[in-house]
Symmetry: C2
Subunit: 185 residues, 2 copies
């Protein structure tokens, strides 16, 4: 799958990619194990430091890799990757090397050991910032420490999961910038 070149992107501005609520692919690495999982339960929590909260259920093979390494990468797939996304979500890293099975390309990250997925248009390197709600809710708060984003297209189509096997694809963009107070943008 061809992908555009990526550039560094300000970590304080990653709400642009996460706030719309796309399904994401989370990569993790602990010792010699590498894995990928799909994740739809996430929210931006702060601009600076750049915080993202997400639920990673204890049943996932990735849970222990992330809890032990205290790191991950949040990769955002474009809509054309739908079958890869569904495939990754329906097998376990305990049985399958997902990079090999889904023909994805590992790229070395700058600040964490988990790899970036080259085929995704954005990759956010994350370090665990707060684990106080992990025991109770499987809720991890990460700090995005480095962001890589494709230079084009400007607004890639993304996948938004509704449950029951159905995804909504993102559609057109509408600007209402002129109606905002500057401090509310």
């Amino acid at each position: 799958m061809k992908t555009a070149a990526k550039q560094d992107f300000p970590v304080s501005e990653i709400r642009r990619y996460l706030e719309p609520g796309p399904i994401v692919l989370v990569t993790s690495k602990w010792r010699r194990q590498v894995n990928i999982m799909t994740m739809g339960w996430h929210t931006v929590m702060e601009f600076s430091p750049s915080l993202v909260g997400c639920v990673i259920a204890g049943g996932n093979h990735s849970f222990e890799l992330i809890r032990n390494s205290r790191e991950c990468v949040i990769n955002i797939p474009a809509a054309k990757m739908i079958d890869t996304v569904v495939g990754i979500g329906n097998c376990s890293g305990a049985e399958v090397d997902k990079f090999a099975r889904f023909k994805l390309t590992e790229v070395k990250a700058d600040k964490v050991k988990a790899p970036l997925i080259q085929e995704c248009f954005a990759s956010l390197e994350c370090r665990l910032a707060d684990d106080s709600l992990v025991e109770k809710y499987n809720f991890f708060i990460f700090e995005v420490v480095k962001a890589h984003v494709s230079t084009s297209p400007k607004y890639p189509q993304t996948l938004h999961y509704t449950g029951n096997g159905v995804f909504t694809v993102s559609g057109k963009n509408i600007s209402r910038r002129a109606l905002f107070r500057p401090e509310h943008l």
Copy 2:
């Protein structure tokens, strides 16, 4: 604005409406004050109990109403309400009666004091379930205790905020149900 009739919807299934990441309108009531705010930083956290986590910044007039009442309603506007959504996000409940200014209709909720917004296609009555991260991150964990959803359309177009005054509108739906393991739907 015309709206379809609403029916009760199972609270354990509200991920269908929230997981795709729409911008929402949060209503609150404390003593005689009622308010509405826009909110884009939220995530589903659990099916049952039905938990939703969200960030409500301390600068919002709604913050104290919600912290004091320990309740709110999360209302989901369809895309046609974009100018109402932008308007609500760019004035303060400390100065304006937003229901009056934006010609919205208050509907009495069943289990909380905050009103539903009739013009929204879904309204989720919420009670504060966990405030342990409110001080540190303005992060509220609510339990959805009652859900009201319009009977049609089946998948209303929603608004997804990217920052900088730009919204992405939800597009077409794609089912990959046949490729899912039943327990992964």
